[in-house]
């Protein structure tokens, strides 16, 4: 049963088109994460689902009911804002009770719902405080509590953790994951800039780019089989290296010659006979790069900078041209001594991605 469906959704502000061709089926109980570069329309899409922005064209339905013109409060959604958006003049208790009071629930019902949520979020001791007397993490929990109290079908989070410091972000992320586990029937849609949040929380990730959806899939799917150069570089950090290459052998597996450094490499991506000789981009993630032991190597370059992070070392190879992205390799252990040396690298065939005209050979 698909619970939340976006069909051919378009958003324009006047003549300016922001989103188009948005088609997405979200099932009950999923935790969907929207990622994408800044300004690609993540918040806008979320706000359209919430009902805070009008949907220019297309339909949004929740549980089979078209929601385009249903007021936000009746959509069965709750939203957690990046800035918390707590009502500053109300105590934590009043903040959480507000929606229920508006809905005209009885005192006892409200009391019960608020206390239950407060307990779940360890806010019981703070119920009578004003928001300004809370820390950032506590405020964010109140904001989440305000959503939980309403027992919505769909939770919407717009970068809920980006105002917290790194340690708290990790802690709250884990809390959200636990919360999700306690409420297996709630659907959550979560916007973030943070790769780690996306990879750890999501049941599926939606990559938005160029006014539309670039790819939808489980975190590992996106990591292992990105459908385009864009997704390949967007998921993973440091980003995937893209090297100019040429197909020299087609079939079940593809053999490629690399323009720079002159090496050859095998990819498990299949190719068609007519691809013979085509120029492509060969994608290798930094963490998949290994030092070439034998005669065979894919890439040769001089190590410009090394960054030893303890458990891994990043090797930055000399840039091919000014402004180009440097090729990066991530080797486990400490390898500071490789600086300034010329190094030959390669990768296992199942780790080598091939893109032709920006599109993965797997998705043609």
């Amino acid at each position: 049963m698909a619970d939340l469906i976006l069909k051919d959704v378009v958003k324009s502000y006047g003549d300016v088109n922001v989103l188009r061709d948005i088609n997405l089926d979200i099932e009950t109980g999923e935790l969907i994460v929207f990622v994408g570069p800044s300004g690609c329309g993540k918040s806008t899409l979320l706000r359209m689902i919430a009902g805070l922005e009008k949907i220019t064209a297309g339909t949004l339905s929740i549980d089979g009911q078209v929601m385009n013109d249903v007021p936000p409060a009746q959509r069965g959604i709750a939203m957690v804002f990046q800035t918390y958006a707590l009502y500053p003049h109300m105590t934590v208790r009043e903040n959480m009770a507000f929606a229920l009071r508006i809905a005209g629930q009885s005192k006892e019902e409200i009391e019960q719902a608020v206390n239950a949520a407060a307990e779940k979020l360890q806010l019981t001791d703070y119920l009578d405080r004003l928001p300004k007397a809370l820390s950032g993490g506590q405020r964010q929990r109140v904001a989440i509590g305000r959503a939980i109290v309403r027992d919505p079908k769909v939770y919407l989070f717009d970068e809920p953790l980006s105002n917290l410091d790194a340690a708290l972000r990790v802690a709250t992320r884990i809390e959200i994951a636990q919360l999700k586990e306690q409420m297996p029937d709630s659907t959550m849609i979560y916007v973030t800039h943070d790769q780690v949040e996306a990879m750890t929380l999501a049941s599926r990730i939606v990559v938005l780019a160029n006014k539309g959806i670039a790819q939808v899939g489980s975190p590992l799917e996106l990591y292992e089989k990105p459908n385009s150069e864009f997704v390949a570089q967007f998921i993973g950090s440091p980003q995937m290296n893209l090297l100019e290459g040429e197909i020299v052998e087609t079939g079940e597996q593809t053999r490629l010659n690399l323009k720079r450094g002159g090496g050859t490499i095998l990819s498990h991506y299949p190719s068609k006979p007519e691809d013979q000789g085509a120029s492509v981009k060969v994608g290798i993630r930094p963490e998949d790069m290994v030092v070439a032991e034998g005669e065979d190597y894919a890439f040769e370059g001089k190590v410009d900078i090394t960054e030893a992070l303890g458990e891994v070392t990043l090797l930055y190879f000399e840039k091919e041209a000014l402004g180009a992205d440097p090729v990066i390799a991530k080797l486990s252990g400490v390898h500071s001594d490789r600086r300034g040396k010329t190094q030959r690298m390669t990768a296992a065939p199942e780790r080598v991605h091939v893109f032709k005209d920006g599109v993965s050979l797997l998705y043609r």
Partner: protein, 325 residues
């Protein structure tokens, strides 16, 4: 010498006098009294820094003492003397005031003014600020409503004299009555209610002030809290009264008390419209009627006004300081 020339000279002397004072005083402090050299250089710099604020404040403190503190004390002292100012009569002036019907009426009317005008001006200001917020022509509406602020109280009173005029060809109220087939009347002479007709003038003037301040405050409310409330199901009324108004309560109080203080000082409107007749007397205009005839009593009224204004003033300043934090 022509008055224009005199004015220009005064401005020049004033401005350059100020600049000259600050420059010379600073120079004196830094170069002569606590020079930043010699064996005590560190101590001298610290002392100069400690003294400097007082140097800058000195002219203001002097001006305030001469033109504010001295008159207050002087007025109170004068109010303890008789009409000619020769005989000390203690609190007799105050006793006579409270025995006077007109004074009691003025006190009552003033209380009425102090309650109605700030409440109405703030309410209308808030209403206009909210209603014009999203309108395309909202700024034009706001400018129009703000304009009376630029009119003097006397000028405004003259305008409203026309509104209240008895001739149906001039006064809009009587024009309406005429249209309904009623006889013309003089609103200014209707007992008790005429107070409210006078208040309308000040409300008309002050609504613009309230609107401008409250409009800015409304814009300062974080948009997300409003959106969160919409998602929580609040209707426009709940949104306004339960989310927006409480968040700008501090500003509302400041606007309210600022107008209250103004109300307690206004005399021009009553003076121009009725001269305090027909039961519309208020304290400041009552004071004006006594002035030059019995300065002892007039200053006693002034002291009463000050005593009434003072608590509001203190409350106002407290609120304003809280707002700034």
């Amino acid at each position: 010498m022509s008055p224009l020339f005199q004015g220009i000279i005064t401005i020049l002397v004033g401005v350059f006098g100020c600049v000259g004072y600050f420059y010379a005083a600073n120079l004196l402090l830094d170069k002569v009294i606590f020079p930043a050299r010699g064996p005590n250089i560190g101590r001298n710099i610290n002392r100069a820094t400690a003294v400097r604020p007082w140097l800058f404040l000195l002219p203001a403190i002097l001006a305030l003492s001469v033109y504010l503190v001295y008159p207050v004390v002087g007025s109170f002292w004068r109010s303890l003397f008789n009409r000619s100012g020769e005989e000390f009569i203690g609190m007799d002036n105050y006793g006579a005031l409270f025995a006077d019907d007109v004074f009691r009426q003025a006190l009552f009317n003033n209380a009425l003014w102090a309650l109605v005008v700030p409440a109405a001006a703030t309410f209308f200001g808030l209403l206009v600020a909210q209603l014009t917020d999203r309108l395309k022509w909202g700024n034009i509406a706001k400018s129009l409503i703000f304009m009376p602020m630029a009119i003097s109280f006397v000028g405004a009173s003259l305008i409203w004299k026309f509104v209240y005029a008895g001739d149906p060809d001039i006064g809009i109220i009587n024009a309406v009555r005429d249209g309904l087939g009623l006889d013309p009347m003089d609103p200014i002479q209707v007992p008790f209610w005429n107070n409210f007709f006078l208040m309308a003038i000040l409300i008309w003037i002050q609504t613009g002030f309230a609107m401008v301040i409250l409009s800015a405050a409304l814009r300062g409310i974080p948009e997300e809290t409003v959106e969160a409330a919409i998602i929580d199901g609040a209707n426009p009324f709940q949104l306004f009264f339960k989310i927006k108004v409480p968040q700008i309560m501090g500003t509302i109080v400041v606007v309210w008390t600022t107008i209250t203080i103004l109300v307690l000082k206004v005399f021009d409107i009553v003076y121009t419209m009725t001269g305090g007749n027909f039961g519309t007397q208020i304290l400041p205009s009552y004071m004006m009627t006594l002035m030059f005839r019995d300065d002892g009593r007039a200053t006693a009224v002034a002291v009463v006004i000050m005593v009434v204004v003072l608590p509001v003033m203190i409350w106002n300043i407290r609120q304003a300081q809280k707002e700034m934090r």
